[in-house]
């Protein structure tokens, strides 16, 4: 399947929830240094639920579409549920097959959001290998 399916390109060109939240409860940055993809997210949290979400930054179509689609899925959801999401969920949301070489692009949004939540709880942040260990794959820059 073409990774640049219509829905991916639509989200890339017209992303949902792009911008900044005034008075966000937590903001967090992550980058995919080898590609130069950079994301910043702002979250509003109420009663352990994500009530509002915005992202900014730039990068490839996969990273941008993935955070746009992810945002639509997670607003209104509980933080514990969002923290449980993994690579398979991201692939399901994207609806295209993601090759190993684009896995980091697809996951950048999820790691940024999950680390923002962990940061708000004062917990230890996730690292890339936490995502890839699950699939028993060796990923490096």
């Amino acid at each position: 399947m073409d990774i640049y399916a219509q829905n991916i390109l639509e989200h890339f060109k017209n992303p949902s929830n792009k911008g900044f939240i005034k008075g966000a409860d937590v903001t967090h940055n992550e980058a995919n240094l080898s590609c130069g993809d950079k994301l910043k997210v702002g979250l509003k949290i109420k009663n352990n639920k994500l009530v509002d979400f915005k992202f900014s930054g730039g990068g490839c179509a996969i990273s941008q579409a993935a955070i746009s689609i992810l945002g639509e899925q997670i607003i209104g959801k509980s933080l514990s549920l969002i923290l449980k999401l993994n690579f398979d969920d991201v692939k399901k949301y994207l609806g295209v097959s993601v090759s190993e070489r684009r896995a980091k692009c697809a996951l950048l949004g999820l790691i940024t959001v999950q680390n923002a939540i962990l940061k708000s709880k004062g917990k230890k942040l996730k690292e890339w290998r936490d995502y890839f260990l699950v699939f028993n794959k060796n990923f490096t820059d």
């Binding site: 073409d2 990774i3 640049y4 390109l9 890339f12 060109k13 080898s34 590609c35 130069g36 993809d37 950079k38 730039g58 990068g59 490839c60 179509a61 996969i62 090759s99 070489r101 684009r102 692009c105």
Partner: protein, 407 residues
């Protein structure tokens, strides 16, 4: 130059049913059958360790290994084979100089001058010394077209504490050939007792590299970017300088005598070749030199100039892509780094890869340069003389489709 492509077996490969177009030669060049055969031949008929053992098989292996050194010596016009150290590649060659020459000769506050266009391999070893002993690093910026800014370089070199000028002969991103600039910096470097290290990794298969004409103190390159195998590269150093600096790694081959409380070092070049070397790799590199000679460097350069001119013409006609680096063919090698309007380089490389066009996207191990250019990444098409104008046409045709899809 008949049937050049036929000598590179991988060039008939298909990807997704399409003929592969290999435009990633700056990362590694493809290997001719003669190089592949030489390594198979070594392991099939001559495999033994070198410089050891009084036996006829070790003698065969040693003869082949040393013969490769002779070929490399002639290829870069060094004075003697003592000046040719086999390493793992250009990265290890530069690390060797930083760790051995650098630790012995540099002290806190001394300055190493680099250009902003250096590969990480010529940045990090010096940054490590900055961390370790407190040396300073000064960086030469570029002119608008991506050439070394000679005036700035001259200003930096007149500082008292500059001990080393470490520059790439050809940037792996911009493709600019800096031979003339480097030669023009010689006088000022010599007058101030500044040593010169050149990174010839990109230059080695695209311009004639003559260490006597360049009058450099050290020069580093990798065999795999000049049709040889991976894992074998070269450090050239002037004999009198290499004599004066201590061995880097310790082990077999680099010693003359070892006692429980001391050791003495072997002669050059063995002093810097601790442990069993990449014997088959060196032999393959020697055969890569043979391949270039047999094909004729002049013929290779002529074909490359044609391809460069053609690519430059096509990029000029292209209104959605910007080329970084010189636009005059005689000033550049066939490494073309592009920014595509509205398309992230990774998307372009992935989409074109699906069409069998092999490119690289990212910062190409030159993050300081990309920061300087204010782009996070570029799409790099790097060609070799075995590429064709038809392949360039196809590349631009497919690139246009990608651009249209994203915009």
């Amino acid at each position: 130059m008949k049937n050049i492509r036929g000598q590179f077996p991988i060039l008939t490969k298909k990807i997704n049913g399409r003929a592969m177009i290999y435009f990633d030669n700056a990362a590694t060049s493809q290997k001719p059958q003669s190089v592949i055969n030489s390594m198979v031949d070594f392991y099939t008929k001559h495999n033994s360790n070198v410089h050891r053992g009084i036996n006829p098989l070790a003698e065969e292996a040693t003869r082949q290994y040393e013969n490769a050194r002779k070929k490399v010596k002639e290829f870069i016009n060094a004075n003697s084979t003592q000046e040719i150290i086999f390493t793992k590649g250009a990265t290890e060659s530069i690390n060797l100089i930083a760790q051995s020459w650098g630790r012995k000769n540099l002290k806190k506050g001394d300055i190493v001058v680099l250009s902003i266009a250096e590969h990480h391999a010529n940045f990090v070893p010096w940054l490590q010394l900055k961390k370790e002993i407190g040396i300073e690093i000064d960086v030469i910026s570029l002119t608008g077209k991506g050439y070394l800014d000679i005036q700035k370089a001259k200003n930096l070199l007149t500082q008292k504490k500059v001990k080393l000028l470490a520059l790439t002969l050809c940037s792996n991103v911009l493709g600019a050939i800096e031979t003339r600039s480097i030669v023009s910096l010689q006088k000022i470097a010599r007058a101030n007792n500044i040593k010169i290290l050149l990174d010839a990794s990109q230059a080695i298969s695209h311009i004639v590299v003559n260490v006597k004409k360049l009058n450099c103190d050290f020069l580093a390159f990798s065999g795999h970017k000049m049709f040889g195998p991976t894992g074998c590269g070269v450090l050239y150093g002037k004999n009198e300088l290499l004599e004066k600096i201590p061995a880097w790694q310790g082990g077999g081959d680099m010693i003359r005598e070892v006692f429980t409380n001391k050791f003495s070092e072997n002669n050059l070049p063995y002093k810097f070749e601790a442990g069993t070397p990449n014997i088959a790799g060196a032999i393959g590199l020697g055969v890569a030199v043979d391949f270039i000679k047999k094909t004729g460097f002049k013929n290779i350069l002529k074909k490359e100039e044609e391809l460069t001119n053609y690519f430059l013409k096509k990029i000029k006609e292209c209104d959605f892509a910007v080329l970084h680096g010189p636009t005059i063919s005689k000033d550049r090698i066939l490494v073309f780094s592009l920014t595509i309007k509205g398309v992230h380089p990774h998307d372009a490389a992935d989409a074109l890869g699906q069409k069998g066009i092999i490119l690289r996207a990212g910062h190409h191990c030159a993050q300081p340069l990309h920061d300087y250019l204010k782009v996070s990444a570029t799409l790099r098409a790097s060609l070799s003389f075995y590429n064709t104008t038809e392949e360039i046409d196809l590349f631009f045709k497919e690139l246009k489709k990608v651009y249209q899809k994203f915009n």
